[in-house]
Symmetry: C2
Subunit: 165 residues, 2 copies
DNA sequence: CTGTTATTGGAAACCATTTTCATTATAAAA
DNA sequence: TTTTATAATGAAAATGGTTTCCAATAACAG
């Protein structure tokens, strides 16, 4: 568990300036060059990046930023709710920006268990989200939970993989 | 990837054997004592067992069954669809029987990110499952996927954890 | 019973992630 | 600007769940 100095990691309700960097500062975090670079990579390459992917993209411009910092920053971002930590069962986590400043489209994932190809789908999202909200409300009440997040993923074989045995 | 057993023959229920064991043999796998013990533990303790949990429960009666065998067996069972491999973000996988012979009740999970408590809920399941089926159909058609499984999980803080800072 | 080969245990390897710790850099105070 | 407190950092080492290796063993068919 990351433990930094006096202040415990703030929660997702932190308010700050408009976008990522501002949000970051607004939550009491120092904005270092390494972190700026990481935030930059995340906002530029919307995808499902592993910690190492990010490291590789940050490295050329900032050879002195280590993998450790990538992990630490992602942990912070994830706790702030700015980044989703995804698990596609590959034995490594992947990360993606929760939302752009203008509210990027919400999507869920369709994962091929054969080749690990991942499809972001937005179809059916509206119905799903609506049902999820209802379910969330119900669960919150019944189990006295404060629900902050959900996962929906479908697994199967893509056209290429379902052919072979 | 584990590769064993030549034939992928469907269930030919083995006489006098419990459902799970029969299914196992029916698929061309040898039924060893270690595997019997593991199947036994899985059917007796419905829960979210980690590989080590299972090891601990198997060990007293079968001190010669190693952790490696637990992992290998779980992998086979998971590939057969008899067991679900679950991930609650603890850094270790957990496993539970997919279904009893008479079709145990389907459930989804509600996970406390504070204390890792996990609640199996069946409320709302019907609506969820119905929507999932539809979505599944749609996704299968649109992306030419052969969907075999899905995940739905809600994350949040339980009554105990949401109080503390 | 015998032969074939799936299965096994134990140790070592693997590898993403975390921890340690001495050093550095950031932001605020003076 | 300079000082000051301490958050943040990198490099290396540690961690820990899972997998691989390989020689020995045991299921099962014939």
């Amino acid at each position: 568990m990351m433990k930094q100095g006096v202040n415990v990691m703030p929660d997702r309700n932190c308010r700050g300036r408009p976008w990522l960097h501002g949000k970051f500062k607004g939550c009491g975090y120092r904005l270092t060059m390494g972190r700026e670079a990481i935030l930059g990579v995340l906002s530029k390459h919307a995808g499902h990046l592993s910690a190492e992917d990010i490291y590789m993209k940050v490295h050329p411009g900032h050879p002195n930023v280590g993998l450790t910092t990538i992990y630490r920053t992602l942990d912070v971002l994830s706790n702030l709710g700015l980044v989703y930590k995804l698990d596609f069962g590959e034995g490594r986590a992947r990360y993606e920006l929760a939302q752009g400043p203008k509210g990027a489209h919400h999507h869920h994932h369709l994962v091929c268990t054969g080749c690990n190809k991942i499809i972001d789908y937005t179809d059916f999202i509206d119905e799903e989200v609506e049902l999820l909200k209802e379910t969330e409300r119900g669960l919150s009440r019944k189990y006295d939970f404060n629900i902050t997040n959900h996962i929906i993923q479908f697994y199967g074989l893509c056209e290429k993989c379902k052919g072979k045995k």
